[in-house]
Amino acid sequence: MHKANDSISALMDGEVGEFELRRTLEQIEQHPELGQQWRRYHAARASLRGEPQAALQEDISAGVMAALEQEPTYHPSVYTEAAAQPAAVQQNKAAGWWRSLSSMAVAASVTAAVIFGAGSFSEAPTQSPTFYLPGNSVTNDLMRTRLGGAAPELGRYESPDVIRLSDGLTKYIDQHQHLISAQRMPQWSTRWMPEGYSIVRHELLPHGEVMVFANGRDAFSVSVEELGHQSLPEGVAQADGYIAVGKRRGDHFVTVVGDVPLMIADRIASAVQPER
């Protein structure tokens, strides 16, 4: 707590870096007394400077934040557009840890997309379908069919009346077959992770593995790929509040992505090892 108090003081003076800022905000959220300390520090500063203040024994912040519970949480990508379109906000009522985990899932999905072969979704079909449903005509690479018979009760789901076939999707059939036929067990693990984290997902992919660790609030993912399936150099990247650290581990490439300090991400990446 002493360290958090020290960070609050430095935050007042704009003397904290990005990581310390995020960590301090988290600690203040977890410990309301730190928020009160922040309020008092500012009241003291205003007193020193002789700035007018009122209702010093009152704190309306709880009421404001309670009212804002129903308000949307702004999202970085939406904010970019929001400058031109202020009403554009994204609803996000997910709880804190779930929000973090969901964000991580997106990051992990991106990683997985790289493993699977990025660009799959943008590839337009270029070949004719390789099979036909009976009784339907075929036009170029698009086959249309009416789904006959009574639709099953699916609640509000409405059956599509057109099916588009795409050869590009066959790779996901290969992937599915790989996943259900693979007899191998997870081959990678980490011998160190930050306190409080535990593994919540471990996916085996055709050319690697992805592990997701969470502590109930924050999460990070660890991807291990064979070197031949990616060509990125070792290094660090930062975007949207996330750190990505890439390191070679023998003939594999380890990528750690998450809302964790750089030094932590680097240590995690260094701790990834093959299962014995």
Partner: protein, 195 residues
């Protein structure tokens, strides 16, 4: 502390809010609420009513935050919202806003001798004066190294690095001294600000 430094610090939190960290807005509320209530109190004389209007102003500010581009300082922007909210509140209650207005750029520094009335009830004035007395007395009693570090920061607006150069000590020591000075003051004023 300089206006530029304050604006830069606020902008850090504003960006956090815009990036999806709603709780960062709580810090901005805690930071500015007493000033905003004081400002609104120059239009809305009832203290409880002024607090309600202040709360409404902060909610409006949050909703408008996606459109805040940082062209002006956050507190200037916030003060403008607060003043407009107070005026609208008076109009909605069929009361006439005062003829004398506050220049939003000067609102940060308006003293109690303004032509506009404020929430200076005897109780509020007592707390404010007592707080100021305790803060200054505690500052005067601090060890010299702590007092000088905090003074250079709060009154001269110097960065930790500049203070380290002046005091010929590491930046980490400056940070620690300023924190310890604030802790000492906070220990004395906490009972006064308990809600």
């Amino acid at each position: 502390m300089s206006n530029e430094s304050q604006a830069a610090n606020d902008q850090v939190l504003v960006k956090r809010v815009q990036a999806g960290d709603k709780y960062a807005f709580d810090l901005l509320v805690k930071q500015y609420q007493h000033k905003i209530i004081g400002l609104i109190g120059r239009y809305v004389y009832d203290p409880h009513e002024a607090m309600d209007v202040a709360q409404e102003a902060f909610i409006k500010a949050y909703r408008a935050l996606p459109g805040f581009r940082g062209d002006s300082a956050f507190y200037t922007w916030l003060y403008r919202i607060a003043i407009n909210t107070a005026k609208n509140h008076l109009v909605s209650r069929s009361r006439r806003p005062p003829d004398v207005d506050i220049d939003v750029d000067d609102a940060h520094y308006i003293g109690t001798d303004s032509e506009l009335r404020d929430l200076d009830t005897p109780e509020h004035a007592l707390y404010r004066d007592e707080l100021e007395r305790v803060v200054k007395t505690t500052l005067d009693r601090l060890p010299e190294d702590l007092r000088v570090a905090l003074t250079l920061r709060e009154f001269e607006g110097m960065s930790y690095e500049d203070i380290a150069n002046v005091m010929d000590c590491p930046v980490g020591t400056v940070r620690s001294r300023i924190f310890r000075a604030r802790e000492a003051i906070d220990k004395e004023i906490a009972p006064l600000l308990a809600n």
